[in-house]
């Protein structure tokens, strides 16, 4: 079994004409925002930091858009019954779609990062940047992918998780106790705080945490596609 590479062109077209449109809009808006940020005087560092926050959330937004409904959209109408009567492996079909989505996220993030770099006279693009986007996509895109094999409102569920993570982070920074439930949630929720595109690549235990989390959600999605019934769909 191999990836249905001959179908990659159609998948790319689906992305471009589907999620690609809001992804492009988000990229343009984020680029406009970062290009208008005031960079002179002592506020320059704060402005750059603000731009990096915009970049991070843009990349997360792009990952949510690229993977939203990646599996669930087909299952919602029962299209998988037709698709997988062809000699195609469901996990490999959706893995290829997920990877193509990742390329879209990388392109959008690169445009915003390059806009920031142009404003602050730096270079954003390079292997380090690509690896950081790849890690972010592995975690966030992988989580939506997994959710999409389970429920229809995949991106909504992941957005809620991310929002919850932000709330927990704010509460923690205000000195509130995390408690045992908070500690468990810390493990379940995506390690977004380790995925800042403006920071150096995580190392050591942080890198292990990101890789383990991302690998678990990605392989969880692939395992679900291998074992879940393909009969479910519009009829049921």
């Amino acid at each position: 079994m191999s990836l249905p590479t001959r179908y990659a062109g159609w998948m790319t077209r689906d992305l471009a004409l589907g999620a690609g449109i809001p992804m492009a809009v988000l990229t343009v808006i984020a680029s406009l925002v970062v290009s208008k940020v005031q960079v002179v005087g002592p506020v320059g560092d704060a402005a750059r930091a603000a731009c990096l926050v915009v970049l991070n959330w843009t990349a997360i937004g792009l990952a949510l858009l690229a993977t939203s409904g990646i599996v669930s959209a087909d299952f919602a109408i029962g299209h998988q019954r037709t698709l997988f009567s062809k000699p195609v492996s469901p996990p490999l079909y959706y893995l290829q779609r997920w990877l193509i989505g990742g390329v879209g996220v990388l392109i959008g993030s690169a445009v915003v990062a390059q806009t920031i770099a142009a404003r602050f006279e730096g270079t954003a693009l390079g292997v380090g940047f690509i690896l950081r986007v790849a890690l972010l996509y592995l975690v966030i895109g992988g989580l939506v992918f997994l959710m999409s094999t389970l429920i229809r409102g995949d991106w909504v569920a992941v957005t809620a998780l991310l929002a919850w993570h932000v709330v927990l982070g704010v509460a923690h920074s205000m000195g509130m106790e995390r408690g045992p439930i908070g500690a468990v949630l810390e493990i379940i929720l995506p390690p977004r705080h380790l995925l800042s595109l403006g920071d150096p690549l995580p190392t050591g235990i942080d890198l292990v945490q990101v890789l383990v989390y991302g690998t678990l959600v990605l392989f969880g999605a692939l395992a679900m596609l291998r074992w879940r019934p393909l009969a479910r769909g519009a009829r049921q």
Partner: protein, 307 residues
Amino acid sequence: MIELKGLSKTYRSLLGGRVVPALDDLTLTLARGEVVGVAGPNGAGKTTLISLLLGYLAPTSGSLLLEGQAPRPWIERHGAAYLAELIAIPGQWSVEAAMRRYAVLAQVPAGRVTERVEALLRDFGLADQRGKRVRELSKGNLQRLGLAQALAGDNDFVVLDEPTHGLDPLWTQRFRDVVRDLRRPSRLILIASHNLDELERLADRVLILHQGRVERIVAAGAGAIASAGVALAYRLALGAAHPALARVFPDAEAIDGRMAEWRVRGELEALNRGLAELLSAGALVTAFAPEESRLESEFRAAVRGDG
């Protein structure tokens, strides 16, 4: 080609509170070269059987092997020509794009995709619809697109679930020709349908499912009726009432009190002898047709639980 042994499928709700048996202890062999019909009332288990054959569901117990392999790996390797009962193709795709996509997925060689797609669009009368979105198609055209996509590859396992649903009489006839053309020694064709007449015309044998069990397996086709030696009811219509009728068919019953239309019963051979006698006596026979096909009578008996 396909072996089912003690195959059962039971649907359970998430917490196991609700249990719905769908198929119960099916043991059966389906061979290449056959056209097999699957009939049964709603909820008999036809779609569940198809889902199991395509590896979309796992059996609760028993086994199902396609050439010694579990269905899913076999389908992922060889593919199947499958028409689903409810055709679900993304509505925003154009007819031609949908066909091209399915041809690529069906592993049609890159250099032959255009030729194959054009042939299917032409054969299924979709050439003038190629630019339309799938959501804009009428029920009949969508059904034809479903059939065309199913046949995009050159598969040895063909599964058609309610294939003539929504087709007009012209295309229903064309569909019969398509199935006849599809027949080949290496291919197994499975047709699930409520249309017993369709199955009787196309299938070599028909499985009658009822409440998840194979109640009967009926040999179908014109030859099967002749060789079955079963007494069936036929409608005999004459140009005008004829005195020889009472002698030739003493048990004939007038239909709706009309003296020119009669119901006669018997084995086909005896009925043919009677018809010859009637014709030689100068009667003008305008119609002679089964009132109910053998498959219909077997179906009725199976569903009622007779014999």
